[in-house]
């Protein structure tokens, strides 16, 4: 029961965060900055320094790309809101892009922060059949595996001979990020197959009654 309350509370906080940051105050730059500052501080206190830095490094290119795209829209004078002063179009897109970039980074860090309070034991003790719980167990297990292996995947991509130099070109830098994302997908697909089979096998032997019900 205690675990159920804990998970319910976590889900409630998540929904509240998404509503406040993503809907109610989505265009309030000051509130977005304040919220992301609090989330980053909480993450720094909760996670190991190296993990925090790794995640920040992983997310920064996406934020930079988002900002560049929004600034390009401004430079192209794309004007969906019929802003009259020409200078204000760029300002509008910069402000809009900055809010979205901060919102994106804050949401990613907040999800990680709040979900870190849900342990495997919490999931196992949920009043669900083991057949349904196995998806949650697999998801949690894949999430932990991915977070722990991002650094290692990046090391091996950066050790490819063409990337072993002091200054990478923008194209190479972009390709490293693409290859890292692709390698994460490959890893998750493989691990989900292997871990899924292991979990099914464990259920087959430890929860015979539930398993038979499913079959």
């Amino acid at each position: 029961m205690k675990n159920l309350l804990k998970i319910t509370l976590v889900v409630f906080i998540l929904i509240a965060y998404v509503y406040i940051s993503g809907f109610a105050y989505a265009d309030e730059l000051v509130i977005q900055i304040l919220m992301v500052a609090i989330v980053l501080l909480l993450s720094m206190l909760r996670f190991k320094r190296q993990r925090f830095i790794n995640e920040l490094r992983l997310i920064l290119p996406f934020i930079a790309t988002m900002l560049i795209v929004y600034i390009l829209l401004g430079l192209a004078r794309f004007n969906p809101n019929n802003i009259t002063a020409q200078n204000n179009i760029l300002k509008f897109w910069f402000n809009y892009g900055l809010c979205r970039a901060i919102l994106f980074s804050g949401t990613v860090f907040f999800f990680q922060y709040i979900l870190s309070y849900i342990t495997m034991n919490d999931i196992i003790s949920l009043p669900l059949s083991v057949y349904h719980k196995r998806y949650l167990i697999l998801g949690r297990s894949l999430f932990i595996h991915s977070v722990n292996n991002i650094g290692n995947l990046e090391l091996h991509i950066k050790l490819m001979p063409e990337y072993q130099k002091k200054r990478l070109t923008i194209k190479q830098w972009f390709y490293i990020k693409l290859q890292l994302t692709m390698s994460l997908i490959i890893m998750v697909l493989r691990e989900s197959r292997i871990k899924g089979e292991l979990i099914d096998n464990r259920i087959r032997h430890c929860f015979v009654k539930d398993y038979k019900e499913v079959i």
């Binding site: 190991k48 995947l153 091996h156 001979p161 063409e162 290859q179 493989r190």
Partner: protein, 176 residues
């Protein structure tokens, strides 16, 4: 070419340190065998000390590292290979190491540098061994971690670097 790992106390993990008593030197043309019990810090030395020091001057050499747990490396290199033109399908350990070695040789043609080849409990592969033997000795320095007699250091003059466990949180490294 010579690479020097300075003698000092390295805190590699929060609860584990490596104490290097004397400067460790690695030289092209030489083969080094990292020897020690399980948990004595051989892989930690490679990942947390050796590679970061080499990467500080990344244009001095090429690092070719085959990890002990190759699954992440396999995923990373499979992903890299998919982006090549034409894309290469990596399906086995041999495919993976030979692909990276080919990339290395191709990059060497444009920017020649010595290589540091690190094999951490790498599975025996006749193809990899043949490829290594075909390279000029002076073009690379070979560092091998293995508990049994590895085919990669068989019949070669080997410098042994030993890892001695002092306690659960500390190992000492020195030439044997």
């Amino acid at each position: 070419m010579i690479w020097i790992i300075p003698a000092q106390h390295y805190l590699v993990w929060e609860t584990f340190s490596l104490d290097i008593k004397y400067n460790l030197t690695f030289e092209t043309g030489n083969v080094y065998h990292l020897n020690g019990n399980n948990g004595s810090g051989k892989t930690s030395f490679i990942q947390q000390v050796l590679i970061p020091i080499l990467q500080k001057d990344s244009e001095q050499q090429y690092i070719f590292y085959v990890e002990q747990q190759i699954q992440s490396q396999f995923d990373a290199i499979t992903s890299y290979a998919l982006f090549q033109k034409p894309s290469t399908d990596i399906t086995s350990f041999d495919d993976m190491v030979l692909f990276v070695l080919e990339m290395l040789q191709s990059t060497q043609r444009n920017a020649s540098r010595p290589s540091v080849i690190i094999l951490d409990e790498c599975p025996d592969s006749d193809e990899l061994q043949a490829k290594l033997r075909s390279l000029s000795d002076e073009s690379y320095c070979l560092i091998v971690v293995s508990h049994k007699e590895s085919i990669y250091i068989k019949d070669r003059g080997v410098n042994t670097i030993s890892f001695n466990t002092i306690n659960m949180g500390l190992s000492e490294i020195g030439h044997q």
